[in-house]
């Protein structure tokens, strides 16, 4: 019987020739990571268990990205705990404020996670790395603590849903819209406990940035992992970044899928997810007049260089509407520098945008753009739960960077097509 890419990677890391959905396996972990919110609990559990050394100092990564640069004293103490543990264990990878970035953008960028890896992370968006053809899933702090000690994790082999995207992408439609549309179709628990394998000619032609965005939001459909079979695009991305060997796995022709869903993308327009669930999606043309107070462009979902370029294309020569705060957060120092070099910062500053150092910040209502009661934001982030970005009576609408940038100019949710002189949107 054939196996899916997810099953193949799990089998290889469990030391089995074959695995099948439903089976519980103990797997060897290539990379385990935690952040300034989840790692403090894990470090505490590690010490409580009497452990002295992590199983492999090259395979444990701690990233302080959620509340950094430290937003308050308690957050400072949490970040310090990670720093102290890193020093104590002499961990290979550590990125201080000034060289850090949002974990799920930073780790692929630095070549720390690679195709064929098995990655667990104490952060739900760890599923992002599936875009590289890795098996990657979010776990809790206790799982992370156990993996730091043993180098292993227990996993139930998930069933896989295959998603096939065909046709031609419409203008302003990106990976973000494909995944929002998919979540809208299957619901926030539509892939509960399952692997989501993204396939089809649209995915084959999608750049890495769009692939990362899609795998990133698999969790928003309840998925265990999102995954894309690696190809030439993947090879180009990792070739100069990898410092160790990696392996391309693929799905067998006779692999078993619990469901196959096909989408003709020519019917998909830019999507906006309404409060308070990512499944509440509408096409941008169906929205009507929804005034906004803030726009956030950034996060592990859409804080990559390509996202910055898209935002700049729309913002060039334009300004954020009066009383509309536009906050742009490049996800890593590299994205930050590259955006600056390409002149995108001038465009952003001319548009009255505030440009922030990399941080998860406002995505989870941490800092750098928390909403007041009754306020509304359009964000390129991944969740729009009650109180996600601030006051429980605030609202978050999820969209791609083009829609977010256009909305900032319009002062309401809208498309670049609604801007005056849309022909003047330049290629940058």
């Amino acid at each position: 019987m054939g196996m899916t890419i997810t099953e193949r990677i799990l089998a290889a890391h469990a030391g089995e020739r074959e695995v099948e959905a439903g089976q519980i396996v103990n797997v060897r972990v290539d990379i385990a990571l935690g952040n300034d919110i989840t790692a403090p609990i894990a470090i505490n559990e590690f010490k409580k268990a009497g452990a002295l050394k992590v199983f492999d100092r090259e395979k444990i990564v701690l990233i302080s990205d959620h509340f950094t640069p430290n937003k308050d004293i308690k957050s400072a103490n949490q970040a310090k705990l990670l720093r102290d543990f890193t020093k104590e264990q002499n961990l290979t990878y550590y990125y201080e404020v000034g060289e850090m970035g949002i974990e799920h953008v930073l780790l692929p960028e630095k070549g720390i996670v690679l195709p064929g890896d098995l990655v667990i992370g104490a952060d739900s968006h760890t599923c992002t790395y599936g875009a590289l053809g890795a098996f990657s899933t979010g776990v809790g702090s206790t799982d992370f603590a156990a993996a730091m000690i043993s180098g292993e994790a227990w996993l139930r082999v998930p069933e896989t849903i295959k998603f096939v995207y065909t046709g031609k992408l419409n203008k302003w439609v990106s990976g973000k819209d494909l995944i929002l549309y998919t979540i809208g179709d299957i619901g926030v628990d539509g892939a509960l406990y399952k692997a989501m394998e993204f396939t089809g000619d649209v995915i084959e032609n999608l750049p890495m940035a769009g692939r990362f965005t899609m795998a990133n939001m698999a969790i928003e459909a309840g998925g265990k992992n999102g995954i894309i079979v690696p190809d030439k695009t993947t090879e180009e991305y990792v070739a100069n970044r990898a410092k160790r060997e990696y392996k391309f796995y693929s799905s067998d022709k006779d692999a078993r899928y619990c469901d196959v869903r096909e989408y003709n993308v020519s019917r998909i327009e830019p999507q906006v997810a309404f409060p308070h669930l990512p499944e509440n999606v509408k096409g941008v043309s169906e929205i009507g007049n929804i005034p906004i107070d803030q726009v956030v462009i950034g996060s592990c979902t859409n804080g990559r260089l390509e996202d910055m370029r898209t935002a700049a294309r729309i913002l060039k020569g334009r300004k954020a509407a009066p009383y509309t705060r536009l906050i742009i957060i490049p996800a890593t120092q590299w994205v930050y520098r590259q955006s600056m070099k390409e002149g995108l910062f001038d465009i952003f500053l001319d548009a009255n945008a505030a440009i922030s150092t990399p941080t998860c910040g406002p995505c989870l209502g941490g800092h750098m753009g928390v909403l007041a009661k009754g306020e509304r934001a359009v964000a390129t982030t991944n969740r729009n739960f009650v109180g996600r970005m601030g006051d429980p009576e605030s609202e978050v609408y999820l969209a791609n960077p083009a829609i977010a940038a256009a909305s900032a100019v319009l002062g309401r949710i809208g498309s670049p097509e609604e801007l005056q002189n849309p022909g003047e949107i330049d290629e940058i």
């Binding site: 989840t38 505490n44 559990e45 409580k48 952060d123 809790g140 206790t142 043993s150 628990d189 009650v386």
Partner: protein, 166 residues
């Protein structure tokens, strides 16, 4: 294990931001987290919840973030068990790893109302709603999960394995 308590009823897709908002995640102190448990879903919860109370919820309970602060807050608030139609994957995993008893039982959730007196027998997989005078049998816990629980959660399991390996 047996629990007896009063029902708190919630709907579907209760996310981890509702269970414990990120604005309180600058600490992992259980007592501190318990003060804000379920704050954005029901402001009265943290003040009125009593030791031993039981949460009943719809599908996909605990969706969203991987934060273990969510089951920690629920446990520290005094909740003895969570019964839901289904659980989000990471929340499900976290609960077993830190030994917060949870059960999937859609029928029992449909019938339960806030304030009902219920009794739960974890080993037999049984929920008795005394107020409604109904008994439900639930999905048995998978054998591997039972082993985790018997080891006192994942850390106990891992420590035991390392000690017993040659």
């Amino acid at each position: 294990m047996r629990f007896k308590g009063r029902v708190w009823k919630f709907g579907s897709d209760v996310d981890t931001d509702a269970i414990i908002p990120a604005r309180y995640l600058n600490t992992s102190d259980p007592e501190e987290l318990a003060k804000h448990c379920m704050e954005d879903a029901d402001l009265s919860f943290a003040e009125s919840v009593k030791q031993g109370d039981i949460i009943f919820a719809g599908k996909n309970f605990g969706c969203g973030s991987s934060r273990e602060h969510a089951p920690i807050a629920i446990k520290a608030a005094g909740i003895s068990c969570v019964v839901a139609k289904s659980f989000a994957r990471i929340f499900y995993r976290n609960s077993f790893n830190m030994a917060l008893p949870i059960m999937e039982c859609p029928e029992a959730v449909d019938v339960a109302e806030a304030g009902d007196e219920v009794e739960i027998d974890l080993d037999r997989g049984e929920i008795i709603n005394h107020t409604k005078q109904k008994t439900f049998s639930c999905q048995p816990i998978p054998p591997f999960m039972q082993e985790l629980v018997q080891s006192g959660g994942l850390m106990g399991y891992v420590t035991k394995k390392i000690i017993s390996s040659p």
